[in-house]
């Protein structure tokens, strides 16, 4: 037990920032940590709480009890397993400390137990907050009670345990029985493909829903006929028990705790038998040896400009490193999924029609709304893909390389920003083309005014301005406190506050720009003036982001020690 605690404390300690960074960025972390909590985590928790509250009210009206909260918690649990699996395997099997831990006289269950608890504490803050949302939302609908509050507190702390125990058990068994999975790149690829398949599956399931009807959905939940809920209750039996406890059942609370203990014990017993064999002979990519191949490659060597060569290096690193590819490149392709979700979930409200019909008739208000939509999506796409806002963090131990090569830091920052502008910009170009094709299909060949043909060009230019702003500003944000200490590429991005902070700031700024633009219209200055104002404001922000990055950003990089 003491080995377990000592190991856990060491794992937690190694993730703390160093004393130099601590001193340099004490206030920065305080301010930005508060900003993340207030602008991202609490709103997300509040949203989940509201959804739970609304669904629970509907279900309680129909005589049922915890089904709505169960379904929300099940979705959170599924996401925990999907996104947690890769993290767990990387922490259990591919972290750099493994080679130092294995020769020590430690029991496998002590190593795995400490790593499991570390994963639980460090990777699930968001899940804790979402669970608070569910419990509070449910109690607002069903009523507060002493038992409910106690059970909620227990649940908030323990809800991620079972999903994480599933991830841990599956990974330990897989690593024990297979050989091919013992390559980190292979693992990253299959989990990436798995996630993509899950998203496509969810998309297809949504496409199958012709008319989403909240009333019918609540009725299905209340009647207990929901196949999804029944299956998920079997997979995560602790969730209905937790919500039962929050609803007032003492026996459910005891059963809930018992299931958590059983899952952890099973996981530890399996780990004690299988972990050591699984963790041995872990490998990475093998190099092939071919002299002719090398001679051809040397002959093909050609000279490039410094900027072009640096940019090429950025692209190669982004495309060839599986975690960077998944989180920075492939994530850009998720946005059409959200668009389809909007189309489907609008159901009978015809939200899209109410915007698209006037837009295609040349209505200026609709044009302003669509333009503001383009601004928000462009900003979000670029901020979330983190190409820029983790541009320096991605260097990790290579950071010193930036300082000893005879290339000005300004040039290196430009290359990193241009990598972000290119990838995010290409994504936006594709979306704008796709959106306009959708409009053409939707319009069915009817006549449209000339202004409708001009708007795609306006949107393209505006999208690129937004991408430029977020890229340079994001890179600047990452120069303030780059996360340079990580032992696995996946950790360069996960838990990197710079990405969250950048997203929160640019989103808040963009919302302010949109409000100014709408205010122009509401004040009677006209929609054209509103669009022009958005254009000018985003251009000014781009110039500010650019200036900050190449002046203050360079200074920041010079002062990193």
């Amino acid at each position: 037990m003491t080995n377990f605690i000592k190991l856990l404390l060491i794992f937690l300690k190694t993730t703390e920032i160093t004393s130099t960074e601590k001193k340099r960025s004490k206030h920065f972390y305080k301010i930005m940590g508060t900003a993340i909590l207030l602008l991202i985590m609490l709103p997300a928790g509040a949203l989940v709480g509201f959804v739970t509250y609304a669904l629970s009210l509907a279900v309680l009206d129909k005589g049922a009890s915890t089904e709505a909260a169960n379904i929300v918690l099940h979705i959170i649990a599924i996401l925990s397993v999907v996104f947690g699996f890769n993290v767990v395997v990387n922490i259990f099997y591919f972290s750099n400390d493994i080679e130092n831990l294995l020769p020590l006289p430690l029991k496998p269950q002590e190593i795995v137990g400490a790593k499991f608890t570390y994963s639980l504490l460090s990777e699930n803050i968001m899940e804790f907050i979402l669970t608070v949302g569910v419990c509070v939302g449910f109690m607002f609908a069903g009523g507060f009670s002493f038992m409910g509050v106690v059970s909620s507190i227990v649940g908030i702390i323990t809800v991620p345990i079972v999903p994480l125990a599933y991830c841990g058990t599956i990974s330990v068994v897989l690593m024990y029985v297979t050989h091919s999975i013992k390559n980190r790149d292979f693992l990253n690829k299959i989990t990436g493909v798995g996630t993509a398949l899950l998203i496509v599956g969810a998309l297809l399931a949504l496409v199958g829903v012709n008319d989403f009807n909240a009333e019918a959905f609540a009725q299905t939940l209340a009647s207990g006929d929901s196949t999804f809920l029944n299956v998920m209750n079997g997979i995560f039996p602790q969730i209905p028990l937790l919500m039962g406890a929050v609803y007032g059942s003492v026996s459910d609370l005891f059963l809930y705790i018992l299931i958590n203990i059983v899952c952890v014990v099973i996981f530890l017993v399996i780990s004690s038998k299988m972990y050591i064999k699984g963790v041995s002979d872990i490998n990475t990519t093998k190099s092939k040896k071919d002299i002719n191949d090398t001679n051809r490659a040397i002959s093909a060597s050609r000279e490039r400009g410094i900027f072009a060569s640096y940019l090429k290096k950025e692209f190669l690193v982004l495309f060839r490193t599986p975690p960077f590819f998944m989180d920075c490149i492939a994530v850009n392709l998720l946005w059409p999924v959200f668009f389809v979700v909007v189309i489907i979930l609008q159901g009978q409200t015809n939200f899209l029609s109410s915007v698209l019909d006037p837009y295609l008739k040349g209505d200026l208000s609709a044009m302003l709304y669509v333009t503001l939509g383009v601004i928000v999506v462009s900003v979000l796409v670029t901020a979330i893909n983190s190409i820029a806002s983790a541009g320096i963090s991605r260097e990790g131990r290579h950071f010193e390389f930036m300082r000893y090569i005879p290339v000005p830091l300004k040039t290196q920052l430009h290359a990193k920003a241009v990598a972000s502008v290119t990838i995010s910009g290409l994504g936006m170009v594709l979306y704008i083309i796709a959106f306009n094709i959708y409009c053409m299909v939707y319009n069915g060949g009817a006549d449209v005014p000339a202004t409708v043909f001009v708007m795609p060009i306006v949107h393209l230019v505006l999208a690129l301005i937004c991408v430029w702003f977020v890229s340079y500003f994001g890179l600047f944000m990452d120069t303030i406190n780059p996360k340079l200490v990580w032992d696995d590429e996946i950790n360069a991005l996960r838990g990197n506050y710079n990405v969250f902070i950048n997203t929160a700031i640019v989103l808040a700024t963009t919302v302010a720009v949109c409000l100014v633009s709408l205010a122009m219209m509401w004040c009677g200055a006209g929609e054209g003036v509103g669009i022009a104002a958005a254009f000018v404001l985003m251009a000014v922000l781009s110039a500010v982001g650019y200036k900050l990055c190449i002046s203050k950003g360079v200074e920041n990089l010079m002062s990193v020690e």
């Binding site: 004393s19 090398t294 060569s309």
Partner: protein, 239 residues
């Protein structure tokens, strides 16, 4: 070719890593930089290459001040860091091309240098594979190849022999000698006193950031008659 003039580096206003250090490395010299762990060797090398900024004093390479004219100074440096795990997703040949582009090595010249350096280090077969699949020693060799691809005047090497197999270590030592004989200089840190004894024209010994000795090994041995280099080193650094 290298000039350190009263250089001091303090971390967090509390830890003096390098304390008023002055020395010179001249043309044709191989200089070994020796000191116990935590003595300030790596901090010194990092200041010399422009990675860290000194708090006081001046550093110049080929008469270019590393702080005031960093780009000019860095163009003359070939630096091998203590950790060869760099840009492992790139293929060896891609990494060498990237470095060659940075140092503006013409295409025909670089092809010749790639072939020459890789032949000497036995890298040729694996050069078109990602460096992630290389062993530690192979990664070290590719870092050596990359540091030398632009034929720099000043070689700065941080523990360059660690991880190299005997043949590659032998080759690198020969290359260091050839380089110095060609009117250039080599400044390298090492813990291996035998290497310093056999290879260096001069040694600089530091401890706790302070200079303890700067001169030839012959002179050092004359000052401490009857003692081995190891004994002299221990005496100096344990005072």
């Amino acid at each position: 070719m290298i000039k350190f003039d009263s250089v001091t580096k303090v971390f967090n206003n509390t830890l003096t890593a390098v304390d008023d250090l002055s020395f010179q490395v001249n043309k044709g010299e191989i200089v070994g930089f020796i000191g116990p762990n935590g003595s300030g060797k790596t901090t010194t090398i990092k200041m010399l290459t422009g990675i860290l900024k000194p708090d006081r004093g001046e550093i110049s390479v080929k008469d270019f001040d590393i702080q005031k004219q960093p780009l000019e100074a860095k163009k003359h440096i070939g630096y091998i860091a203590d950790n060869p795990d760099m840009f492992l997703r790139l293929k060896g040949v891609e990494f060498l091309n990237f470095i060659s582009d940075i140092y503006r090595v013409p295409a025909d010249v670089r092809k010749e240098r790639f072939t020459s350096v890789c032949d000497r280090f036995g890298l040729t077969e694996s050069l078109n594979s990602p460096m992630l699949g290389y062993s530690h020693g192979m990664r070290q060799k590719i870092m050596v190849a990359a540091a030398l691809v632009h034929n720099p005047d000043v070689w700065i090497l941080d523990e360059p022999l660690i991880g190299l197999d005997p043949k590659s270590a032998f080759e690198l030592k020969n290359m260091m000698r050839e380089h110095a004989q060609g009117g250039n200089c080599v400044f390298f840190s090492t813990h291996v006193l035998e290497v310093a004894e056999k290879l260096c024209d001069k040694v600089i010994i530091i401890n706790k950031g302070k200079l303890l000795y700067n001169g030839t090994l012959e002179n050092l041995e004359n000052l401490n008659k009857g003692k081995t280099l190891e004994e002299i080193f221990l005496e100096l650094t344990e005072k």
